[in-house]
């Protein structure tokens, strides 16, 4: 059984935001909603590192635990998805998420939050695969096409890895081995309890 994971190799990330725009453009995400973003620490100083962060598709996802309407669910491959038809926009998932992944475009009434939007690992949503509704609500379903998520595929320096956990780990391990560096992948301990 595959288990989908993200890994951002901070030695390679150059803060070009290619992943961010690839995601937005690919899924037609409204301005202001960031399924993915790049964070830089120590900007302008030696030790400047950037990292691209989106939903980590956690193993024991806190967002699923707190959702009052069970709108969030996890597929067997580990991808955490939200049903926008079920979501009521309460925002609890945002408060539960350590990574700030859930996003809320403003809704129609009184500026109240609309349904939650977050990284789908390019796996669409619970609607019929490739249907118009899936496309408008969640964007492309690249996983069903057998393609990797846009952000990782379009990563400028191949810093962002996405895909089956074992293989992501293999690629990263090999890289780290070549660099003679340690094997700690950021975010994994929190997201995957490793």
């Amino acid at each position: 059984m595959g288990r989908m994971k993200f890994l951002c190799d901070i030695e390679r990330c150059i803060d070009c935001s290619g992943c961010v725009v690839a995601c937005k453009e690919g899924h037609h995400i409204p301005v202001g909603v960031n399924r993915r973003r790049v964070i830089t620490i120590n900007q302008g100083k030696p030790g400047e590192k950037s990292i691209s962060v989106a939903c980590m598709h956690c193993a024991d996802a806190p967002c699923i635990a707190v959702c009052p309407v069970d709108a969030i669910y996890q597929r067997d491959d580990g991808i955490v998805l939200v049903s926008k038809d079920t979501c009521i926009g309460c925002g609890y998932c945002f408060m539960a998420c350590p990574f700030g992944a859930p996003q809320f475009p403003s809704g129609q009434v009184f500026g109240a939050r609309g349904a939650m939007d977050k990284c789908t690992f390019c796996a669409g949503g619970p609607e019929e695969t490739f249907s118009e509704k899936e496309k408008t609500l969640y964007g492309q379903n690249r996983i069903a096409e057998g393609k990797v998520p846009l952000c990782a595929a379009m990563c400028a320096t191949k810093s962002l890895l996405a895909g089956d956990a074992d293989e992501v780990a293999d690629v990263y391990r090999e890289r780290v081995f070549k660099r003679g560096s340690g094997t700690n992948a950021w975010g994994w301990d929190k997201a995957y309890k490793k």
């Binding site: 150059i14 070009c16 961010v20 301005v31 202001g32 100083k45 030696p46 400047e48 950037s50 660099r179």
Partner: protein, 716 residues
Amino acid sequence: MTNSLNDMRHAKSFIFIGSNAAEAHPISMQHILHAKEVNNAPIIVVDPRFTKLAAKATEFVRIRPGSDCAFIMGLINEIIQNGWEDKEFISTRVAGYPEMVEVASKYTPEEVENITGIPADQVRKVAKILATNRPTSLTWCMGGTQHSIGSSITRAFCILQLVLGNMGKSGGGTNIFRGHDNVQGATDMCVLADNLPGYYGLSDGAWKHWCRVWDVDYDYIASRFKEKEWMNAKGFTLARWYEGVLGEEKIEQYTPIKAMIQWGCGSNSNSQYNRVVKAYNKLDLFVIIDPFPTMAAATCTTDNVYLLPCSSQYETSGSVTSTSRQIQWRHKIVDPIGGCRDDYTIMKDLVGRLGFADEFYKNIKEVPEDITREINKGTLTIGYNGQTPERIKKHMENWHTFDIETLQAKGGPCDGEYYGMPWPCWTDTHPGTPILYDISKSVAEGGLPFRNRFGLETSYVMSGRAEGQLAAAGVCNPGSEVKGGYAEFKDVVPGTNWKTDLSQKTIKDALARGMAPFGNARARCVVWTFPDQVPIHREPLHSPRPDLIEKYPTYEDKPNHFRVFTRYKSEQNPDMVKEFPYVLTTGRMVEHMGGGAETRSNKYLSELQPEMYAEINPVLGNNLGLRDGEMMWIESPEGGKVKVKAFFTERVDDKTIFMPYHFGGTLMGESLAGNYPAGHEPYIMGDSANVCTNYGYDIITQIQATKDGLCKVSRA
């Protein structure tokens, strides 16, 4: 670039000077970081600013803007002092070496420290890294060229690579990352004031060659000019054309400029932009051809402006030359949207109405393929003749067959060819030249010696020594008939040489003999036609170090520099720094491009980087009483000023202000949003950094000196 981006994977060390590849060329980092990781290649970044590239570097060298030449000459000196130079390479393939050594010896590490602010020990360390990690890939960009001594600086870079013996080697070379997507192609086609396509120059011979290619009478073209003398005179440049309109400087032309066509050119990348704006408003006719209204449309407020919406490049087709000299075919993705027209259609219409369509389009029926064929026919100097439209398209279709390490196709329809047939590609079966001046391969397989361009022997004014310019005996490409240096090919077809023989027999003949059509010579360290025969440091026109001006003064004023009087010595004033104490430098950010007309009209990119700012060191900012995020005025000695947000960061040191130059839409603090056609103003607007960039132009190329000006800063 002498090598290719992919070839940088083989470098054993990198030195980037005046380049911020991580922001300006992000995808190139794929290959650079590969070499860093796999070859353990040190990355040395020389920049006034701790850039995002510097964040990936192993050694960051903070340099005072405009002192690159001193640093490089210092490195050369240090390398020679320690005997690290490539003696074999220098003795067989380099000319004018002792003269250069003589000049370089003055740049001791201590002197370099005095000029550049780089600690002497760091100079020694960098020299050692370069000497012990060969080949080194040297990269520069606008940070190296946009100075009044830009041409000296770039020559110093080349000489460094010659001294290290890194030229013509995989993993080495001088790898200049070009800016725009097709700046290489457009430069090759010489949309320039001093050349005809293929760098033929403006001599009578050049005009006659191109008239033959165009299939028109030389006399016809001559009749189009005011007088024949204007055919051979360099025109106004993009950097200073507005002087031809304003008439405030002495110009060498019979008429001021009255009309302007700006075709796909964002205006706010011009330095001293407030003067450009003045010129716009003085024009009788101003035509802007662009998919987006550029800032020019908003700054020009007269009634003589026309906006012609051309399509984007995705709505038309044609070839495009990347920085690695690869020629790729840009297929048309969709038809021009709305009422847009593609460039070719507009040109055809314009030429038709101006009444010279028959001559202009004589051999061009199928657009754009026939144009490519005409280019193939005429552009022999740089070997643009093998890249037929069919071959370029074939490469596009089979781009998956090319090896990522060598860029050579393995099997398939393009077997053995290099991706994009990097020029020179001498014939329609030649694979392209992936690495320039590489004598390890035969010419027919993409090898190349140094070009013989400047005679067979020269005696140097500097030393009185005479030296042969051809390569030493035994130095040649494998399979060469002449085992050693040889002159360029001519008179194979009587009366022509390899550059002007349209039948291309000369080139084929040379290749058949295993030789390069342009000869096999030495790379020269001395350029006897330039004011500085060997590169030397000269202080920027507006120098923050008045104490150095006497020792390193700038040039004499140049009266007819691309038709306009250009001040050097009379502009250099040691007292200026008292009123304008900070160095102003500009650069790119990854989210925007050029003047930003395209990217600031893109909602996602606008969202990512929505505001104009200036980077200022917290120390300086606090000393000036500024607050992070507050507005401040930056003023130039020429009276240009911009109102921008202060961004406190340690990227810059406490003497330097950095501004990205992509913004536009406000001028000296006032919004021009209302001057754009309604609904077509960009999403984000801000003051253009180039209002503040200083006076100063390169002595040879007249490139503007935007990287080493002075400014003063105050709270807004």
